[in-house]
C-alpha cells in the first residue's frame, strides 16, 4: 500500500471531496465521516441523503459534512450523481465515493487515490475480488457480480473483477462526466463502461471491504433478477450508442 503520508503529500493543494451516498445509515454514517477526516482532514465530505427516514442527515451534518437531502428516494444512481454535480459545480479536482454503510474503509483511500494522483487513471475502482481477502459478499451476489465482471471485461477489453464496487476515485474529468451523465438504479456497472467509452482510463486496485455494519442492503433477491436483466439490457443497448463528450467547464454554473 502506498503510505498514507506519500499520498497526502501528493494530494497537496488539490481540492478533494468524498461523496457519501446514504439511505437510513444513522448507525454508521457518523463513523464513516470521522474516519475520512481522520485519514485526511483536508477532505470535504458531502453526504447525499437519499430520502432517509431516520437521523442520517442530522448526524452527518453534526459530524461536519455537507448534507444534500433528496426530497424523495432517487435510487443509488440519482443520489451519487447529485454528489458529482455538487463536486463539479464547486470546482473539486478529485472525488472519492464511499458508501455510508461502513463497508468501505477510509484507511484504504490511498489505494484508490494513488493511480488517479499519479495520472495513471481517470477512474480508479477498489475491487474486493482482486485480492480475495476481506468481506466477499454472499454466494448469490458473488455469482451475479461474476457474470457482470465477465460481460464488462469483454466490453471494455480490460480485466474488471468487481463491477459493483462503489469505492472509487475520479479526477476532474471523471467528475465532469458523471455530473453530466450517470446511470440509474444500479449504476456502477454502466458507469464503468461509460467511462471507458468516453476514453477515460480505468484502473482497478485490490482493496478489502468490511461487512456492512448497519442498515440493510438496497438489493433484495427478487430485485436482483430484475436488476440483472435491466443492466444487461443497458449494456447491450449501450454497445450501439454513440457517446457524448463530458460536460465542458463552461457549462458550470
Amino acid at each position: 500500500m502506498p503510505p498514507r503520508t506519500a499520498v497526502l503529500m501528493r494530494i497537496g493543494e488539490l481540492r478533494r471531496i468524498a461523496i457519501v451516498p446514504a439511505l437510513n445509515e444513522e448507525e454508521t454514517v457518523g463513523r464513516v465521516i470521522d474516519e475520512i477526516h481522520a485519514f485526511d482532514p483536508g477532505f470535504d465530505i458531502v453526504v447525499v441523503d437519499d430520502g432517509s427516514t431516520d437521523r442520517t442527515a442530522g448526524i452527518a451534518a453534526d459530524a461536519g459534512a455537507h448534507v444534500l437531502r433528496l426530497p424523495f428516494n432517487l435510487g443509488i444512481g440519482g443520489a451519487v450523481q447529485t454528489g458529482y454535480r455538487f463536486a463539479f459545480e464547486r470546482g473539486y479536482d478529485i472525488a472519492v465515493q464511499i458508501d455510508g454503510d461502513g463497508q468501505h474503509d477510509p484507511v484504504q483511500l490511498p489505494l484508490i487515490l494513488e493511480p488517479v494522483l499519479s495520472g495513471e487513471a481517470d477512474l480508479c475502482v477498489g475491487s474486493r475480488f482482486a485480492s480475495g481477502s476481506g468481506y466477499q459478499s454472499s454466494f448469490t451476489r458473488r455469482l451475479g457480480i461474476r457474470l457482470f465482471a465477465w460481460v464488462v471485461s469483454a466490453v471494455v477489453r480490460q480485466k474488471v473483477t468487481d463491477t459493483t464496487s462503489g469505492f472509487r476515485a475520479v479526477n476532474r474529468k471523471g467528475i465532469a462526466l458523471f455530473a453530466a451523465d450517470y446511470p440509474h438504479d444500479y449504476p456502477e456497472v454502466e458507469a464503468t463502461i461509460m467511462c471507458v467509452k468516453h476514453k477515460l482510463r480505468l484502473r482497478e486496485v485490490p482493496v478489502e471491504m468490511r461487512e456492512r455494519a448497519g442498515g440493510e442492503s438496497s438489493i433484495t433477491a427478487l430485485r436482483s433478477i430484475y436488476y440483472m436483466t435491466k443492466v444487461l439490457l443497458a449494456i447491450f443497448v449501450g454497445l450501439f450508442r454513440r457517446y457524448a463528450v463530458p460536460l465542458e467547464e463552461e457549462h458550470r454554473r
Binding site: 441523503d49 437521523r55 442527515a57 442530522g58 451534518a61 455537507h66 448534507v67 444534500l68 437531502r69 433528496l70 426530497p71 424523495f72 440509474h184 438504479d185 430484475y226 436483466t229 435491466k230 439490457l233 443497458a234 443497448v237 450501439f240 450508442r241
Partner: protein, 130 residues
C-alpha cells in the same frame, strides 16, 4: 390452423415493435426500466407468431378451434393491459413526487425570502430539519 399470412404479418409487426423499442432506448428517449415490459411483449408475441404449432396447441386448450390467431390478439391485449397498469403506477408515483417537489420549492422560497434577515439553523440544502 393459423393461416400463414397471419403468422407472417404478426411476426413482422412484433419484430417492428422490438426494433422501435430498441431504437428508443438507444437514443435515450426510453429508459431501460420502462422498456422491459414492452420488450417482453414483443418477444412473447414474436414467439407465438413464429411457433405456429404452439399457438394452435394453446388455442385448443381454450377451446378455440376455428381461429387460433384470436389467441395472439388476446395475449397482446393482456400485455397492453399490463403495460398500462404499470404506467398508471408510474404516473401515480410521479405525481406524488411532483407534489413533494412543489412543496419543497415553496418552503425553500419562503426560507430564502425571510431567512435573509435571520439566518436560521439550516445546515442542509434540503428543506425540513428533522
Amino acid at each position: 390452423m393459423t393461416p400463414l399470412p397471419v403468422s407472417i404479418a404478426a411476426a413482422v409487426a412484433s419484430f417492428l415493435l422490438l426494433l422501435v423499442v430498441f431504437e428508443l432506448i438507444r437514443s435515450r428517449r426510453l429508459r431501460e426500466r420502462y422498456a422491459l415490459l414492452w420488450l417482453l411483449t414483443g418477444v412473447v408475441l414474436l414467439g407465438l407468431s413464429v411457433w405456429r404449432d404452439g399457438l394452435n396447441t394453446i388455442a385448443s386448450w381454450f377451446g378455440v378451434e376455428t381461429y387460433p390467431p384470436a389467441i395472439l390478439g388476446a395475449v397482446g391485449a393482456l400485455f397492453i393491459l399490463a403495460v398500462l397498469l404499470h404506467y398508471s403506477t408510474v404516473i401515480s408515483r410521479l405525481s406524488d413526487q411532483n407534489t413533494i417537489l412543489a412543496q419543497r420549492l415553496a418552503l425553500l422560497e419562503q426560507q430564502q425570502r425571510e431567512g435573509d434577515h435571520d439566518q436560521g439553523t439550516v445546515t442542509t440544502t434540503g428543506g425540513l430539519t428533522t
